[in-house]
């Protein structure tokens, strides 16, 4: 039994929890970005605030990120595998069927909603207003509350203080950080 097989099941446990929190982070962010409070409002209000330079750098970042995902098998084959072979003498390639599935997944992630969105743009179905347990009075999430008062819906975010909490993370983070620095110093000095 070598160290590798001792560590790997722990690694899997770490990875499984890390994967879940990554999904929470990205999906929540994307969800907040695509919230459409008023489908009939004119476009470009928010985008107007973004400068051209910012837009250019962010657009190239987005294009590169998508390209990396789509070209992942090629990156693996021509960049990682030669490097691994060179450094460690062994290489772990992505299996051919897994590669196919990965490309299929990324391709479909882009294509499916894109095509469907294109189709739905042409549809002439009327839009209904979101449910707000009160009579909706107009665009932008306003409704008639009690005594005829017009109320606006506002949602606020929540923080998982009890579970992840900044204070808890800080305590553990300082400890782990100090440990890492010590290990780094140790390896350099030795």
């Amino acid at each position: 039994m070598n160290l590798n097989s001792l560590v790997s099941p722990f690694m899997i446990a770490f990875l499984s929890f890390g994967s879940a929190t990554t999904v929470l982070f990205w999906a929540k962010w994307m969800g907040l970005l695509i919230r459409i409070t008023d489908p009939n409002a004119s476009r470009g209000l928010l985008e107007g605030k973004v400068t051209r330079y910012e837009l250019a750098s962010e657009a190239s970042l987005a294009i590169l990120a998508v390209a990396t995902c789509v070209l992942y098998p090629l990156v693996s084959k021509y960049a990682f595998e030669p490097y691994l072979l060179d450094t460690f003498g062994v290489a772990f390639g992505l299996g051919r069927s897994n590669m196919m599935v990965t490309v299929l997944m990324v391709g479909m992630t882009l294509a499916v909603p894109g095509i469907l969105l294109f189709i739905s743009r042409r549809s002439r179905n009327g839009l209904s207003s979101p449910y707000m347990s009160g009579r909706v009075t107009g665009p932008g999430l306003t409704f008639k509350g009690s005594k005829g008062a017009e109320l606006h819906v506002a949602t606020r975010s929540y923080y998982l203080e009890g579970i992840f909490g900044e204070e808890r993370l800080l305590k553990g983070g300082i400890g782990l950080g100090v440990l890492l620095v010590l290990i780094t110093l140790g390896t350099v000095l030795i």
């Binding site: 722990f10 499984s16 929470l24 459409i36 499916v112 909603p113 209904s128 979101p130 347990s133 949602t155």
Partner: protein, 289 residues
């Protein structure tokens, strides 16, 4: 065995909703009996679906329907890849993607009830994902494969080696199948503070698509449970019946938990029953020649 995969995958696309709907029907009959009611006929879910599809399409915005349809397509794709014999660890990401599309569809409406449902669904996803990944790696440890058919043809009884992981998986399946005590994001019954949560702003055919996706999902989720008992047919039948009955019983016997509890309980279960089973199993099986 070779060559059968493609037919099973096609059969899944065609008959998946039939099996999923029947599971739903059995669930409703069993639930009614537990509550001392006669309950709906077995085929009621299909009647409900037909009714939903007969209604007018009235989305809240132009983004909603494409996102819901994507949810259905990716839920189907998960099952197709699963039964086609693709790497089940990779499939988990398609499964996650399918759920993300549903959450995004709810977010896009902007309505408070949908938003709360979407937030809670995201927390549930965070809660159940670690356990599902641990379960798949556990199955790999027993069968030395991530392929559905190779795990099925393995003679090692996974439930004997991975009892903790099996129980942990059933625990998180309650979330995935929208069962009490974890039906906090949406449920088949309206909740007071949530209305319908995630699906509050989906009506008619849109809700029908979500229901259809749910049927597709429940088929491969029970297929995942089946993998723990696939070493013998008797074990498989008993295992699936017991798991199903347990889930329905718990659904009827428990009150809903708060979302904080759902998250911290599920992670504790994943850590104690899941990782607590996986790590010793791996260390022991690798220590032996």
């Amino acid at each position: 065995m070779k060559g059968i995969e493609i037919y099973v995958a096609i059969a899944y696309v065609i008959f998946g909703p039939l099996v999923g709907g029947l599971i739903d029907g059995f669930d409703r009959v069993l639930t009614a009996r537990l509550q001392g009611r006669v309950g709906p006929p077995l085929l009621q879910p299909f009647y409900d679906l037909r009714k939903l599809f007969s209604r007018r399409i009235a989305p809240v915005n132009r983004l909603q329907l494409p996102l819901i349809a994507s949810h259905l397509i990716f839920a189907m794709l998960t099952g197709v890849l699963f039964f086609y014999g693709s790497d089940i660890l990779l499939i988990i990401f398609v499964l996650t993607l399918a759920s993300v599309f549903l959450v995004l569809a709810a977010y896009s409406t902007g309505s408070p009830y949908s938003t709360i449902g979407a937030e809670r669904e995201l927390l549930l996803m965070t809660a159940y994902e670690p356990m599902i990944i641990i379960a798949l790696v556990g199955l790999y440890g027993v069968a030395k494969s991530f392929n559905f058919y190779q795990i099925v043809s393995s003679t090692m009884p996974a439930y004997l080696y991975l009892p903790g992981i099996y129980l942990g998986l059933v625990y998180v399946l309650m979330m995935k199948l929208r069962k009490s005590p974890f039906d906090i994001s949406t449920s088949h019954h309206a909740h007071q503070e949530l209305v319908m949560g995630l699906t509050a702003d989906m009506g008619g055919p849109a809700l029908g698509l979500v229901e259809l996706a749910h049927w597709y999902e429940s088929v491969y989720l029970f297929a995942l449970v089946f993998l723990f008992f696939s070493s013998s047919w008797i074990a498989a039948v008993i295992g699936l019946v017991v798991t199903f009955s347990l889930i329905v019983l718990l659904d009827n016997a428990t009150a809903r938990v708060r979302w904080e509890l759902a998250l911290s309980f599920a992670w504790t279960v994943a850590l104690v029953a899941g990782a607590g089973n996986l790590i010793p199993f791996y260390l022991i099986s690798r220590g032996l020649p």
